[in-house]
Subunit: 238 residues, 6 copies
């Protein structure tokens, strides 16, 4: 679903513009609350590959250990995927360390989102994959977690994520886009971004926000002219 | 798996004694943290029937609404089951109201555990089914939740619950027992309860806890004698 | 705005039914989250009289102390009013004690809602006024609070309350109803309550919830008949 | 330090009146925040015997286990003492169960305060000793705690407690009184209670709180007369 | 009230020195708890212009939307002002984005303090205005908030702020200074800063902190001499 | 106990590798939860010197002020020590400022761990000592704390610390190592680190994690060969 055009549009829109467009469609809980980008300025666009952790139940470990949902999730990552981990916002143990992060990158994964903790954070940072996480804990997941299953619906940082959803991240955080909506969403988010760009320019030129943000009916022709010229100019650049 | 003998043993053991026996086997997270009995003195023994809620995603409602995991879970309850709901410890919306609670009881369910909120709590209380919950909220689940699936593994109040696990509750709270362990667990928990009963009697008679709690090797014969007599006496009662 | 008919309807509807009707109108945040009834089974219907506390700023005490918003709020309570206090969900100090609670009752106030703590809770309980609060703290408000103003818009337990809003409480908690909507809301909430009553009766008679809760188009005539008979019977009672 | 007169005064003053007198002396943190009485209407006056728990460190268990601060604390309780436990407001494990609670009572202890959880709460309730606690957890302390030492200064529910401090509890919660201040504090708190009683009577008679609460200079003679008569009447009762 | 001299003094004192001087005057709650500087090393001095958000009440939107307190607050900002937003420490939605941040800067505002979330944080960072905030959320304020009023007293991050109060920020966080106290406060905070500078120099020279921090009566003449020389030297620099 | 060899091993192992080795020995709570390094990339190895804060009790200040546990702790720091402060995870006041931080460094201390707040954070950062803290607050400790004692067992960020324990920190956080275990722990943690290094190299070369992480019996000889060569090469470097 992530065509070149959609990727281009998403890469030029902020997570804020995307979230606003989702809110406009009545989809309210899409921003991963409380997660932070590991590296400043990082950006990420990919397809969700989910992994679910539940509280450890030592009697279930033999059966679940054989299955090993964590390894299975990592090893089955496809190029362009983002690993999204449900860890119940738990701060008492890690959910992923540097070896698996590096393996994810080798397999073409483009990012990691976890509502729990990273483990061995400095080494994960060195891997260079964009990561959004709640915190860090140097204990292994078995301190509190047990990987249960992958590619199932999950709840991560207050957001429901389905396998195949689109995940976009920037310097603010990350957001989920339902796969079925990504084409129109990418288009409208970019349009939103451009409107904001015009609003900022008007404000920077000394204008009040009245009529300028949001753009009023009266000012819209002015914006359209600006947008047409801008598009032409950008096209000329290429 | 809940034979008459096991039920009898579990009904005479406290949740505290059961939890201790699980800890002794290295199973640490079995008590539903922060949930309270709805009615004072209530007791509950049953088989887990799980229901999973995730954060609402309005775009998924049409598909999930048709499936309606909440109704399916309730209507498929079998006699002797306890409905256990994963609701992410969320306090911002209800997870179950009085109509479904009554239907659950009509179908022979013996209790409800939810790590979220009850809705219409006074009416649910009138139903009379034992309930363990985190709080109350008069909003419907759609304020924050979306029922996703039932009879799948869940995380409830810090505890992983598998369909078919045994759930026991008393005036303190509720605990999960792995189905495979319930026979030995019930036996050992009752034994633990009886040891505590003896310890309490000794302490009430003015003894120090030294050697009495836990029971030392030296005092164990004394306990065994007491236990034998007590068992005989109880048998005579029947 | 609280006519006899509206009062009657509200007194027969649960807070859950009222909240559901508000949700149906797209008004999502009306239930005071995390507040509990002080006495079991209490009920309350009244008009909001608001009081706002802010964090103590010792330099402002001389000016604000002369004004004394707490006393002014209490002494200006009119019959039928509910005192609603914004205290930032703070657990570190009381917001109201027994003398003011008694004065409120003497002036005809019908209840108190505070998202902070009661002080001298046993004595307040003796006053007999319905109270919804977050907790108890025996310190006076000056430990953390400063009364700022009364009869201004406030935020209480996650709900915005305007002076003159209608506040209804039952054994579950309390809810705010916008004054402009109270007539239609009371009617529809009571209708909701009656539908639920029918659903419960059908379920108690052994029916599935399918078609019965919520009431399907097919079953609605049946409900209407039941309702007509019930209304006649009730009228006969009077 | 707890003479008969001081006990009498403390038993007639509320925890709220005591806390107010401590605040007046600039001692701000004396009320155990967030702890609740186990039984409705319970009251407690005693001398603090402290017990400190720290997070479990399995390597330290052999040494600390031999010392066993929990048992030592319980077995060394003297008549009139209140066991006060520091447990870091932790909700993940019990701090005391019914056997030790009963032993405490047998030794003449008059109450228990813990900022952690009770274990086997129903059985502890049967013991009948006044308890103030944060919650309940059926796991043993070893799930998260390790008893370290007793009769040392502790921090409990936001309050520093020294061995020998006076602890008073009522239906609202519990408060610590520095031993050195207990005589004057008991006197002034009772005086405060009597002033409040007069204020309540005036308000119940229909007066405004102005001048009545707190008692103004103008109304004080009236209060003094009432107090003198009340004291005489009470004396006559005896 | 912010004369050139006061600005100079405040710019040379740390927020820590200012807060200490406020504590010394018995004003305890002045530091915005839990808010962080958006950019490392930022500093800010200005006059508070307040804005109050309350929980969204959809029925009130038409009336409040027309008033639009957010736009009114921004558009009425005067040079030298700091916009201070009350958002109930809420992490579930933004309170301000980049267009309004830029408009604020264009109008001469010198900073923003919000106890809620920024929206489109990277773009706000580009604006370059000093910001102190609790977190980031890419959703718009309407997800949870409703702007109610501006230039009214507010509670922000545990601190009461009056319009016209002085707000100072550095790399640690931000603090409020009552306008009436700013002259003496600025003087004393700078003096405090200089004392600390001397203490640090003494410690860096190998001395114990005894007598040096805080400065004892015996060492004060030494400090005074150092201060006189330092002042002379600094004057020579200019 | 910190020989040159042990220091060398610890300096080459990550906090994650150390924590894992502690978990393997059944010691679960050793990582200071929720504390962050003040400066990016900082590292720290030292011996714990503990300091305990309790909630302020104004009546105890005269006695405790004379003792002044804070100054005593700082002034008695020995070269190679890490000051570890118990501050109950409290965010409402500082626990240490720049003058004491500098004095600590002058005395040869190698780091600071506090589960409370730094005060005057920018100035402390300038001192250059590695610090792990929960947050920042510009108020002095007397806003909420009272230094009680030093070189006693403490609970810090969920971890029990004994005077003399070994504290190691890196860019992720800090961990405690029981002094008695430090020799074997340092050896095994470095071994763990080297195994991870090999795993990362294999993964970076395109291998699956299967057999490579953790290292299987089949692959172990390969790792041993690599390790021998690596050790030789490193030795050649020196």
């Amino acid at each position: 679903v992530l065509t070149e055009e959609i990727r281009d549009q998403l890469s030029r829109a902020s997570v804020a513009a995307i979230t606003l467009q989702l809110q406009r469609r009545g989809i309210r809980s899409t921003f991963f609350e409380g997660l932070r980008p590991l590296a400043e300025g990082q950006r990420m666009i990919g397809v969700a590959h989910t992994l679910r952790y539940v509280p450890i139940r030592e009697d279930l470990l033999p059966a679940l250990g054989r299955a090993n949902a964590q390894r299975t999730a990592i090893e089955s990552l496809a190029p362009g995927e983002v690993l999204v981990i449900e860890a119940r916002n738990e701060l008492g143990g890690g959910t992923l360390g540097d070896v698996y992060a590096r393996r994810a990158m080798m397999l073409g994964a483009v990012g990691i989102v976890t509502d729990g903790c990273l483990r061995d954070t400095p080494a994960v940072k060195d891997v260079g994959l964009p990561v959004y996480n709640r915190g860090s804990h140097s204990g292994t997941f078995s301190r509190v977690h047990m990987p249960l299953d992958h590619q199932v619906p999950i709840a991560c940082a207050g957001v429901t994520v389905m396998p195949g959803d689109i995940i976009v991240g920037d310097g603010e955080g990350a957001v989920v886009i339902p796969a079925a909506l990504v084409a129109e969403l990418a288009h409208d988010a970019l349009q939103q971004e451009l409107e904001d760009e015009w609003s900022v320019q008007r404000v920077a030129a000394g204008e009040s926000t009245e009529g300028v943000f949001p753009i009023s009916k009266e000012r819209r022709p002015e914006f359209e002219t600006w947008l047409a010229e801008r598009t032409k100019a950008t096209a000329g650049d290429q």
